[in-house]
């Protein structure tokens, strides 16, 4: 059961409050600080009062009858989910402790799931070199250390750079990891599958990560054949704003990473005439170019 109060923010917040109370460190101010930090926007109206009165968990002096700091054993749901993760090929990248899960039934198995539109040339999570690079990068991120990386660029050029690793980005569609790193006043994105060698740098200052350059595209769409829902769901992972123009027409503005412009052109083309880009002109030009070429093939 997923929707249960034992996983709730209120229980979690109460647990933190009680931990402080058992330690003898709780004050009225501390209680309020914990609620503000861990709970929801309006929880201040409920939790402090509940702890002291209705729930009978705190005495008037902010001590508690509990004798030990609260802790919750792992639930069956959590253990079954963890067991399911142990069957995922990507688990090789991590070194999770499998002890304690031996007799647990997985919540699901990989055979039950089909990622039907995922690209087939994703990363090889069984490759020993790939796993080693992933772990070196993960450790470097955790330890705030620079890395020296040798990799093949998109143009098959071999390069060797010292970078500051910030994030490991995973694309569900591509089934690929990319390292997002700072260095040379740039924001670098390096596919892990292109890395040939990766070692921690001996020393070196941290290099800043440049913000991704963003662009927007605005299009109008007519809600025919359920286009509105298909389009809005398809682009739902991007920051967007939608306005209704009339009963059947909508205007959508999407914000996207400039590096993904060609991908955005292709994705918008996939909706055909249901979507009409209105700005910017540079984006329209890219669409027009492809349509024109296609017309030439048609004739």
């Amino acid at each position: 059961m997923l929707f249960h109060e034992i996983y709730s923010t209120y229980y979690q917040t109460a647990s933190v409050i009680l931990r402080e109370a058992v330690r003898g460190a709780l004050t009225g101010r501390e209680l309020n600080t914990i609620v503000q930090k861990y709970a929801f926007g309006e929880s201040m109206l409920t939790i402090p009062d509940g702890m002291k009165k209705k729930w009978r968990l705190l005495r008037g002096d902010f001590s508690t009858p509990l004798r030990e700091e609260p802790s919750l054993p792992l639930t069956t749901l959590e253990k079954r989910w963890m067991k399911a993760m142990l069957l995922d090929p990507r688990i090789q990248l991590f070194k999770p402790d499998m002890a304690g899960l031996e007799d647990v039934e997985p919540l699901f198995t990989p055979e039950m799931i089909v990622y039907y539109d995922r690209y087939s040339n994703g990363d090889d999570y069984t490759d020993a070199g790939y796993i080693r690079h992933f772990r070196v990068i993960l450790d470097a991120i955790r330890e705030n250390r620079n890395l020296v990386i040798s990799f093949r660029s998109g143009r098959q050029m071999e390069r060797r750079l010292t970078v500051t690793p910030y994030y490991l980005e995973y694309s569900e569609k591509d089934d690929r990891f990319r390292l997002i790193a700072g260095g040379y006043k740039r924001r670098m994105m390096i596919n892990l599958s292109r890395i040939m060698e990766c070692v921690p740098a001996e020393h070196g200052d941290r290099m800043a990560l440049k913000e991704a350059s963003e662009d927007t595209v605005t299009f109008e769409l007519e809600d025919r054949r359920n286009a509105l829902e298909r389009v809005l769901l398809h682009f739902s992972h991007l920051e967007k704003e939608t306005k209704r123009l009339d009963e059947n027409h909508y205007r959508v503005t999407l914000r996207y990473d400039r590096q993904d412009e060609i991908e955005m052109v292709i994705r918008i083309l996939s909706f055909g005439a249901a979507v009409k880009v209105t700005e910017p002109e540079s984006f329209i030009r890219l669409l027009r170019e492809r349509i024109q070429k296609q017309k030439e093939f048609a004739t």
Partner: protein, 407 residues
């Protein structure tokens, strides 16, 4: 009853969050399914949980509230917060903390011992409603089903023990952070994450459809039913359905999840959108009809996406694509995106994709992504090329001629 941040039932809020997130243009008056007061309460709750991501717009029709987030820029799906909002009674939370505290390190206690200890602890508060034994038993039984408590026999007596957690959670930090976002039922992983100190927050997720989190309860029922080979009953847009669930199809480009199921006689396969499934109930265990697994494998090898069924005939489709000698990336695209199709080289610059699928019509969006390169398109379902070329004509009219076209 007054307003509360917490909710008893998830299905109602599911529709509101979905609307705020997907259809950000709706005004208060557009939410006609329930009363305006219901809207006000649900909006207030969502704002309370997800205030950082709520945005407001003003136009001629009034104020709009919507959720907007670039899921690539955050380490954790904020919609998981909605699963941490289950309401409870005062007694629930009181018993929760006292029972766990009493059982911790006790080596096992009988119900009488638990009741004595509980009474001692609660008597100091000015309240006269001490929980009775049957209530405590019920709570212990519930916690047994959740895996928090185990029951053992000590002589003729039943004793309750706190379950042990021998798992080293600190070794799960990055794995839990990753799979909470990149695996099905990540909400369960997010519960786990809450337990891990110093959570790892340096993963980012591209093409990440966070909305699927709202269907986690339905997905949980479906996946456990598949594992147990149980039939399931549910409603889809008010139609009642009872089927044998087989697989879950997840779109990494559409933001949708589907159930692939067989009719009870196992002769017909169909897809159901998970976000439209409601009122789900698991039924009896049933053996797969003979030959089902082979028929399923055959069916899956001729499905492009998530439409079609095995009672329709297979359609054959061929698309020839131009790729210049320096345009290996186009061929690479065909190869990685061909799914159940195949790709062959015709000459130095032409490549042919072919497939036999139950529903070729659903391929049209993908075919359009090759606009500018399609030299030939043939399909036994003539509607497919007809639609492709008709759309092209419409787009030509929409965008006009390019006076600066690059040849």
């Amino acid at each position: 009853m007054g307003y509360s941040e917490l909710i008893k039932n998830f299905s109602r809020i599911r529709a509101y969050i979905r609307s705020f997130y997907v259809y950000g243009f709706r005004h208060r008056g557009d939410f006609t399914e329930k009363s305006a007061r219901s809207y006000d309460n649900e909006r207030r709750r969502v704002e309370s949980w997800l205030g950082d991501y709520m945005k407001f717009g003003q136009d001629a029709d009034g104020r709009r509230v919507f959720l907007s987030v670039d899921s690539r820029s955050i380490p954790e799906n904020p919609l998981y917060r909605a699963f941490r909002t289950k309401s409870f009674t005062d007694r629930d939370i009181t018993l929760h903390f006292y029972l766990l505290d009493i059982l911790k390190g006790s080596g096992g206690l009988s119900i009488t011992e638990i009741m004595d200890e509980l009474t001692d602890r609660l008597l100091e508060f000015e309240a006269d409603d001490l929980p009775d034994e049957s209530t405590v038993r019920k709570k212990l039984r519930e916690y047994g089903s959740l895996g928090l408590v185990t029951v053992q026999k000590r002589g003729r007596e039943k004793v309750y023990l706190l379950s042990e957690s021998p798992v080293n959670l600190s070794a799960w930090g990055p794995a839990a952070a990753f799979f909470s976002e990149a695996a099905p039922l990540g909400a369960a992983g997010s519960f786990l994450q809450q337990r891990i100190p110093d959570q790892f927050d340096r993963f980012r997720f591209k093409h990440h459809y966070i909305l699927n989190a709202l269907d986690s309860e339905i997905l949980y029922e479906l996946l456990t039913a598949i594992g147990e080979k149980r039939r399931v009953s549910f409603t889809v847009r008010k139609n009642s359905v009872t089927v044998l669930p087989l697989k879950v199809y997840i779109g990494t480009q559409t933001g949708r999840q589907y159930l692939l199921a067989a009719s009870l006689l196992g002769k017909r396969f169909s897809f159901y959108r998970v976000d439209l499934i409601d009122n789900i109930k698991k039924g009896d265990i049933c053996e797969y009809p003979p030959g089902l697994e082979q028929e399923l494998a055959d069916f899956c090898s001729h499905v492009w996406g998530v439409t079609g069924n095995n009672s329709s005939r297979l359609e054959h489709i061929e698309m020839t694509v131009f790729a210049g000698t320096e345009e290996g990336h186009i061929v690479e695209r065909l190869e990685r995106e061909k799914r159940c199709g195949s790709v062959e080289r015709l000459d130095d610059t032409h490549w042919r994709f072919t497939a036999d699928v139950y529903d070729a019509f659903e391929m049209i969006p993908w075919l359009r992504t090759f606009t500018g390169r399609v030299t030939e398109l043939k399909c036994t379902d003539q509607r497919v090329p007809d639609r492709f070329w008709k759309d092209l004509d419409e787009m030509t009219l929409m965008y006009g001629e390019d006076t600066n076209a690059v040849s």
